[in-house]
Symmetry: C2
Subunit: 192 residues, 2 copies
């Protein structure tokens, strides 16, 4: 059935998924649609959209038409091939672990190079930042949101709460290693 499966990356599936779910739109439309859905946790700078969607069109997974009017913007829609590609992607398992890139955490790892003062300042900073994000998450409007997307937000919330708690404990403990010490004795590894 001639699947033209040149390797697609996650970003490609974001584009395909949005178009499959919400119908044809311009590149700018894509930008907004992404920003209001997976954009919360999957960064996607708009410049990339142009390259990426052109490539998908070349692969036959999108079809591209130009507007007639003054500025001839491109409008993309998904082809049956594209739809099939998202579908099978959604159904294949996802072995790769999630990766989180946290600059604060990175700095913490090198805390021994800075004084305890600097580490404490870092903790205060990070706690504040996470509190702010948490508040922003909680403030999102509930109504016009696709349920699955809302779910992803729920996990985002939990991550933020975990981070906030972590950094707050780090603040409270004069010596930072108390965070772990306090955790260790009572911790039964119930992961089994």
């Amino acid at each position: 059935m001639s699947a033209p499966d040149a390797r697609l990356g996650p970003s490609d599936y974001v584009i395909l998924g949005i178009l499959a779910a919400a119908g044809p739109m311009t590149t700018y439309g894509l930008k907004r649609a992404i920003a209001s859905s997976v954009g919360y946790f999957w960064p996607f700078p708009h410049a990339q959209l142009y390259a990426e969607s052109a490539r998908l069109a070349a692969l036959g997974l999108l079809s591209e038409t130009q507007e007639g009017g003054g500025r001839r913007r491109r409008v993309y829609s998904i082809t049956p091939g594209g739809r099939a590609a998202v579908g099978s992607w959604l159904e294949t398992p996802t072995p790769e672990p999630a990766q989180f890139r946290d600059l604060g955490l990175l700095k913490l790892a090198f805390g021994s190079l800075a004084g305890p003062e600097a580490v404490a300042a870092l903790a205060r900073d990070q706690a504040a930042a996470h509190a702010e994000r948490l508040a922003a998450y909680e403030a999102y409007p509930g109504y016009p949101m696709e349920p699955h997307v809302r779910l992803t937000l729920e996990l985002g919330l939990r991550y933020e709460r975990a981070a906030l708690g972590f950094w707050q404990e780090a603040i409270l403990s004069a010596d930072i290693r108390d965070v772990v010490v306090r955790e260790s004795p009572g911790r039964d590894t119930r992961a089994g």
Copy 2:
């Protein structure tokens, strides 16, 4: 004092930080040192080390010497300039929010395109994967680990626990949106 501050990225600070903390080593040594510290959450493919550390040497932040023996491996050590760079990096605040790239979450966001069956399968998958990682984290040896690094692991643990709980609830609920529904009543959307 002529700080040659060509923009440094996080990866650069990883290299500088390791060398500052643990003394001179070969590129391969760096690879291992990274793997056993921040490598848990900050992926750093070894191929990048060669390019990156050469660049840092060119900037005068590292000094590079060749071994005399059969294979003339490069040994890097940090210069005073390099040490200063890490130091000031550690002391400047970190405004950028952490970003987590989670393929499972991305698929969940597009759950409406797949059947509830597929979403349920996804949830089962993800729960299993996170449980496994959680177990791996908990199994790390405690003793020879630098306390700050251990702390980062602690946050990693909490993230994994949050994710595990999330996906487990998703499994349990026949209809996936229950995860949110159950959360909602207690949560007053205080966004005004």
